[in-house]
């Protein structure tokens, strides 16, 4: 893409991001969820699109982040400790001062990201020997196992969940505050990925996607690159999980590990937009979110059926995605030089 177009796109999206909550105050949280989905799709694309490791279990880190931030937020300023708080099942409502609440929240988000990243290192140590469909099935198993095991830990409330500390301040400020957090995390992730994909890291993970054995033979330390890629994904998913947990106000297994919803939406969004591109996931997430919100409103009760159908149609009939379709249709727009003479001779030889 030429720089002029890039600047235009960024200005447009940036203006929408900043002005969105002021122009459409009723939809602030909906737009916040939009940025969350953009982040999920973009970070899924690190492994799924750029590195060729199709994970169905990135949602694990989302849930881990959510629970870690809950534990940190409660334990930092509540003297009784987490166990007492969770065993009271929400009847304890500790009064945090503004200062305490926000310090706890920021610490929680940071801890969520870092601990999710550490978990990704542990999981990666036994997951990255799997390739292709085995990695996908294995990571799906990981997500289900994590969800089931979380419900049996009484320290974090077990099956009955945790209610998060109350937000100090009125409800409008609350939604704008969480909106800004979502937007900032997504923005940071986007620019980090933009830079990363332009460095040697981007080339290395693309080499892993194209042929891992050859990449290894060429001396690329594939294992380290894979761990770094999943680590970045896990960090942002964990941090976003922390924010989403506070946005929801109450967390349990269904909120923290939404495997059949966000866990699969993020893959669908990337496929809709086109995988292996920087903008594909962003575009796919925006389109998917709009479709989802409209079907949700008009198809009461049948919305899940509609979503399943969209997913199947998208995957079965529309594999290359929007960006892929645009790229093959108008290659010049993407700065891809097509050798016209070569193409003509090919077509002639076909005919």
């Amino acid at each position: 893409m030429t720089t002029k177009k890039t600047i235009l796109t960024y200005t447009g999206l940036g203006l929408f991001g900043i002005l969105g909550p002021f122009l459409f105050p009723a939809y602030t949280l909906s737009i916040a969820y939009l940025w969350m989905m953009v982040l999920m799709a973009s970070t899924w694309d690190i492994l799924g699109g750029q590195m060729g490791y199709n994970s169905l279990g990135n949602i694990t880190f989302f849930g881990i982040g959510m629970y870690v931030s809950a534990v940190v937020q409660i334990s930092v300023f509540y003297p009784g400790g987490v166990a007492e708080y969770t065993s009271a099942m929400g009847s304890i409502k500790p009064e945090f001062s503004n200062n305490q609440y926000f310090t706890g929240l920021y610490l929680g988000i940071l801890a969520a990201g870092i601990i999710a990243m550490l978990f990704s290192l542990v999981f990666g140590s036994f997951m990255f020997g799997l390739r292709g469909p085995y990695f996908a099935i294995g990571s799906l198993g990981l997500a289900i196992a994590a969800a089931e095991i979380t419900t049996t830990i009484d320290y974090v409330g077990g099956a009955s969940g945790i209610s998060m500390p109350l937000f100090p301040g009125d409800i409008e400020f609350r939604s704008v505050f969480f909106y800004v957090l979502c937007f900032l995390i997504t923005l940071t992730a986007h620019f980090l990925l933009r830079w990363l994909f332009s460095t040697q890291f981007g080339l290395a993970i693309n080499a892993i996607r194209d042929d891992e054995d050859k990449a290894e033979a060429m001396g690329i330390p594939t294992r380290i690159y894979k761990q770094i890629g999943w680590g970045i994904t896990a960090f942002f998913m964990g941090a976003m999980g922390a924010v989403a947990g506070n946005m929801a106000g109450f967390i349990d297994k269904e909120v923290a590990y939404p495997i059949p919803t966000f866990g699969i939406f993020m893959v669908a969004m990337v496929l809709l937009g086109g995988k292996g591109t920087l903008w594909g996931p962003v575009l796919g997430a925006i389109i998917f979110h709009v479709i989802k919100e409209t079907t949700w409103t008009y198809l009461l009760g049948w919305q899940w059926v509609a979503l399943g159908l969209i997913l199947i149609v998208n995957i079965v009939y529309f594999q290359q995605g929007l960006m892929g379709w645009l790229q093959s249709r108008y290659p010049e727009m993407f700065g891809i030089v097509v050798d016209k003479t070569n193409l003509q001779t090919k077509e002639q030889s076909k005919a």
Binding site: N54, L56, F126, G129, L130, R131, G132, P133, Y134, A136, I137, G138, L140, G141, L142, I144, A145, E148, I149, T151, T152, A159, E212, P260, I264, V267, A268, L271, G301, W302, W304, V305, L307, G308, L309, L311, I312, I315, V316, Y317, Q319
Partner: protein, 301 residues
């Protein structure tokens, strides 16, 4: 946990008999659905994540028929026929288009199908856990320590006969030979005049019918719930990953193994881990496969 172990092995070892029997009854169902998965996987390289939902759908069909007071010997073939044609429709609409694409596509497409089936079943039959209560006698053994409902024994025998029938069909019949030929080398099979598209279609429908039969057994010996399908899929994947494709004795052994493992985990650690058990089993199998492959510097592909 320690109490449970003591109970099992010191105070009342007779309870083991009950657990082992339960494990065998369940294992037969798991082995059936895993064999269907291995069939489709081996012949057309489709990894069907909707396998468990086919099972659950068969169970719900059997529930619907049992309301007309039909006997299980009639329900079983009826459900199998309906599921066969359901598989045919799914193949024509969807699977045919993802066969040639990369493996992740089939995985994701069948995951979408799984979500769709779950939701439709949820809308039709509701999210409650349901059971079929057929009037079959229950036998006691060992002073009432072990109870054996005769319906479970009947299901086990039927499952055994069904798998024997499938094995004979694959070995002896012309279609079975064609399926095996296509699994070995689709191109050569096409050259020799086998219509591989028809074979794929038949294989997928057969898998669907096998799942339907497994679903009938689930409905009479266990419980039904629209969202339980994914655990059957995960179990099938664990079994196939451990046993390999096209190795029927190994699939059956692994099926009984995972049934026993689950029942023992449920009895010793607690029923809260009953879903986590098959999933952890899958992860353990995958890790072991990796270790054995790593000796030859290979990855699990």
């Amino acid at each position: 946990m320690l109490d449970n172990i003591q109970l099992l092995f010191v105070w009342a070892p007779i309870i083991n008999v009950q657990i082992i029997l339960e494990g065998i009854f369940l294992g037969a169902v798991f082995a059936l659905s895993a064999y269907g998965l291995a069939l489709v996987w081996g012949v057309m390289n489709i990894k069907n994540l909707a396998q468990g939902d086919f099972v659950i759908m068969g169970g719900y069909l059997s529930l619907a028929f049992s309301q007309y007071n039909l006997s299980i010997f009639l329900i079983l073939p009826l459900v199998m026929i309906i599921m066969f044609f359901y598989g045919l429709i799914v193949y024509r609409l969807m699977i045919r288009r993802v066969i040639d694409q990369d493996m992740f596509t089939s995985l994701l497409a069948t995951f979408g199908l799984s979500l769709l089936m779950q939701q439709v079943m949820n809308l039709i039959w509701g999210p409650e856990v349901q059971i079929i209560d057929l009037d079959f006698p229950v036998y006691d053994a060992f002073d009432g320590f072990v109870t054996i409902p005769s319906i479970k024994i009947i299901s086990l025998i039927l499952a055994g006969m069904l798998s024997l029938g499938i094995v004979l069909f694959m070995k002896k019949s012309r279609t079975g030979q064609a399926i095996r030929a296509t699994a070995q080398d689709p191109r050569a099979a096409r050259v020799l005049g086998i219509d591989t598209d028809k074979i794929y279609e038949f294989t997928f429908s057969l898998n669907s019918a096998i799942c339907g039969a497994a679903g009938v057994f689930v409905s009479v010996i266990w419980v039904l719930q629209p969202f339980y399908g994914i655990t059957y899929s995960v179990r099938s994947f664990a079994i196939v990953t451990a046993a390999g494709l096209g190795n029927l004795p190994a699939v059956i052994t692994a099926g009984f193994g995972i049934g026993l493992f689950e029942k023992y985990v449920g009895a010793i650690i607690g029923t809260a881990y009953e879903v986590a058990a098959p999933v952890s089993m899958l992860l353990i199998v995958l890790v072991f496969r990796q270790i054995s492959m790593k000796k030859n510097r290979q990855a699990v592909k």
